[in-house]
């Protein structure tokens, strides 16, 4: 036996990578309790934290420890017994590391659920076994699907309150499947649970003998970490330009480093690149990080690129690979690029989630931020609003808080975009209201 096996937490050779997941679903379905119980049963709650929530539970007159207190950390949340904003928790097993986001169920706080969903690669959608699929279940499922979470796990919770009845689980499963099929959701799994009693989270318990599938933790431990879409085309939005301009240092005198993160694909020294939207070309002279030179840079790596030629590049420009960019012969100059490649455009067509308290005002200009670039934007039409219950596209005059709609925006400055389904980093944008500077919308380019 190798010595490595003696170290339970960090010695394991199996590494399934980081999994970021969120819990979502309707109000009071047991999302926070589920996370608390999962951490409790995996022994990830440290003694002093447990002691603190025991004390709080007792002070609030509860018989047992309320494990939802683990994530419901704000005073206002504890007073009301609800989740208001996302809580992040970190834990690791021998198999992998997790970042958990506990999202609120209340419709009023949908914007916080979207915040949690935007960085997750798996969603646990809770359903109260007594209540079945509710409007908010549909909304959260749709949002999870829309932001591109590839794996949905439907947890039918509170099975203890329906006598652990298999038929209840089956009925909800069929109901949800019908809904998921309409949306085109492919990867969806189901599990019956009691978060309160800990049935089927880490231990199988004794009450759900008819369920033969894996426990919650087993599903999480083996879930694929990556997004289904992983674009291989090189995308490098420039964040910051480094010009040390040290007159006395000949090495740094002409130094111009373009700093940013590789959002997709990879690049090597010598590769030919194109800067968008200017379409100027050059070659990669050097790739650096922290004073070290790298032969290549891959997706998710923050690096500094140096180019062979002195060309004008600033924050907001995007560097792509020359041979990734397929020019369409004969196309007009403004739209010269095929749909498979980043496109500099002054009009975007998108699915928009409106997060602002006041409705989208068609007369006002908003700021759209996409990658590291900003552009003034004006609504250029609403194709439809989505009715979350019927999934019908309905005609809409305006867009209010929590609405999901297909819209178009006209832009004062060009943005370099990909379709969101092909590239999350270059296909996503936020809408900022300049009067408050608040983030009021989240968009996914079609």
């Amino acid at each position: 036996m190798s010595a490595i096996e003696h170290i339970p937490e960090f010695g394991s050779r199996v590494d399934n990578g980081l999994l970021r997941f969120l819990t979502c679903g309707s109000v009071d379905d047991g999302k926070s309790t589920l996370i608390g119980r999962l951490l409790y049963d995996t022994k990830a709650i440290l003694a002093d934290t447990l002691h603190a929530i025991e004390k709080t539970s007792a002070r609030r007159g509860m018989e047992a420890v309320d494990l939802s207190l683990l994530t419901d950390g704000l005073q206002a949340e504890r007073e009301q017994g609800i989740t208001i904003d996302v809580a992040y928790r970190y834990f690791s097993t021998g198999r992998r590391k997790y970042i958990i986001a506990d999202a609120p169920g209340h419709e009023q706080y949908t914007r916080n659920m979207v915040t949690a969903a935007s960085t997750a690669n798996l969603a646990i959608i809770l359903i109260d076994a007594r209540k079945g699929v509710l409007t908010q279940t549909r909304r959260h499922s749709y949002l999870a699907h829309l932001v591109g979470i590839p794996h949905l796990l439907v947890a039918v919770n509170k099975m203890d309150l329906v006598g652990y009845d298999r038929t209840v689980f089956e009925r909800i499963r069929l109901e949800y499947l019908a809904f998921a099929r309409q949306l085109g959701i492919k990867d969806v799994r189901f599990i019956p649970l009691s978060a309160l009693n800990g049935d089927m989270l880490v231990d199988r318990g004794e009450n759900l003998g008819w369920y033969k599938g894996p426990t919650l933790i087993d599903i999480l431990e083996s879930a694929p970490a990556a997004h289904s879409e992983s674009d291989e085309r090189f995308r490098f939005p420039v964040q910051y330009v480094c010009r040390p301009q040290k007159a006395d240092d000949p090495l740094l005198h002409d130094y111009r480093g373009f700093m940013g993160r590789v959002e997709s694909g990879e690049i090597a020294v010598g590769d030919e690149i194109v800067v968008l939207p200017s379409e100027r070309r050059s070659r990669i002279k050097d790739i650096q990080i922290g004073g070290r030179t790298l032969p290549r840079a891959v997706a998710e790596q923050s690096v500094t690129l140096l180019l062979e030629d002195e060309i004008d590049i600033s924050r907001g420009d995007m560097i792509v690979r020359a041979n990734d960019k397929k020019l369409c012969p004969g196309a007009p100059a403004s739209g010269t690029v095929s749909t498979r490649t980043a496109l500099a455009t002054r009009r975007i067509d998108a699915m928009l989630c409106w997060l602002g308290e006041s409705p989208l005002d068609a007369r006002r200009k908003y700021l759209i931020r996409q990658t590291t670039r900003d552009a003034r934007a004006l609504l250029d039409g609403i194709s439809y609003r989505l009715d979350i219950n019927s999934l019908q596209q309905v005609a809409a005059e305006g867009i209010g808080m929590n609405d999901i709609a297909r819209v178009a925006f006209k832009l004062a400055q060009p943005l370099v975009v990909d379709r969101y389904v092909e590239n999350r980093a270059t296909g996503a944008f936020i809408v900022i209201d300049e009067s408050t500077n608040n983030t009021v919308g989240a968009g996914m380019i079609l």
């Binding site: 994530t71 992040y88 964040q239 040390p244």
Partner: protein, 310 residues
């Protein structure tokens, strides 16, 4: 069977994770630089801010940092930490601004209820005064979400109003990695590049990068008193009172802060690798083991943050 003691640190699995965390933090630092006109980086000489400085080097060298370092000094810090702070700033050749709670006291903007009241929470006043003095539109801090339940709720780019206040019930949505640092004059962003790091990640990064730390992070013998399950260091500021039993124990600090509210833990760990091994198996959280101020009330941190604290 005689299994060799393994250092659970530098395995390729966690290395990948550290690379990811590092890259995210660099991205965040560069967003602050790209979006804000006058940011500052809060540097206390503590381990989290020491990590921030290394990340800033990775993000901006060979250039200078696009922000000064700022320390809000309560005047109740261990001299080892203050010396380290000054030496590190000097070594990096970056500008260090120090503003002290004592000056705020002299001005009358900080009033202690009693001479021995902890100055920790009063740092907020001095911080807000420094923000106003220099017109900072963003402050970069080394807070982590795994530290405390209110921090677990905070955005990476956290908006503060004109009073420096945090409104946890009304935070800006924060989607993907599209951070919104826009503020009006007088308002402020607090940016937390290592939000997603755990205490263990920090130690593993310190090991990987070979970062130097103030000596009090490592096991040393120190006079302490046992109080309410914590160890209270016996210092000039916190002398033993009648009836206190002073013990000479081998201890280290898991976090260094104001002397009056930071407790060391018993430990023999005198190397980073031993600290990593201890951290991996610790049964008590960093704050739970060390912070005298958070024991006061359930929502102590949230309350302080609403008042402008980091």
């Amino acid at each position: 069977m005689n299994a060799p003691v393994l250092e659970p640190a530098l395995r390729h699995t966690t290395l990948d994770h550290l690379d990811w965390l590092e890259s995210e933090a660099i991205y965040i630092l560069r967003e602050v630089a790209g979006q804000c006109s006058n940011p500052a980086l809060l540097f206390s000489g503590g381990k989290d801010s020491i990590v921030l400085l290394r990340l800033a080097e990775k993000a901006f060298r060979p250039g200078r940092f696009p922000f000064p370092l700022l320390h809000i000094d309560t005047g109740h810090n261990y001299s080892e930490v203050i010396d380290f702070r000054d030496a590190r700033a000097c070594e990096l050749n970056e500008r260090l601004i120090v503003r002290s709670v004592e000056s705020s006291m002299a001005r009358g903007t900080v009033r202690l209820k009693s001479a021995d009241e902890s100055r920790n929470k009063h740092q907020s006043v001095t911080l807000l005064e420094a923000i106003e003095e220099f017109g900072f539109d963003a402050c970069i801090g080394g807070a982590r979400r795994d530290e405390e339940k209110a921090r677990a709720k905070e955005r990476i780019f956290s908006f503060r109003d004109e009073f420096g206040g945090w409104d946890p019930k009304n935070q800006r949505p924060e989607l993907w990695n599209l951070f919104n640092a826009r503020v009006h004059k007088g308002e402020n962003i607090r940016a937390f590049p290592i939000s997603n790091w755990t205490e263990l990640d920090v130690w593993q990064y310190i090991a990987r990068e070979g970062l130097a730390l103030p000596s009090i992070y490592f096991a040393h013998v120190r006079p302490v008193i046992r109080k309410g399950g914590l160890l209270q260091p016996v210092t000039e500021l916190t002398p033993a009172r009648d009836g206190d039993v002073v013990e000479q124990l081998r201890v280290r600090f898991r976090t260094v802060g104001d002397i009056t509210c930071t407790a060391p833990v018993e430990s023999d760990a005198d190397t980073v690798h031993k600290i990593i091994a201890e951290t991996a198996t610790s049964t008590i959280t960093e704050r739970g083991a060390t912070r005298l101020d958070d024991h006061a009330s359930e929502a102590a941190m949230e309350q302080r943050k609403k008042e402008g604290y980091f």
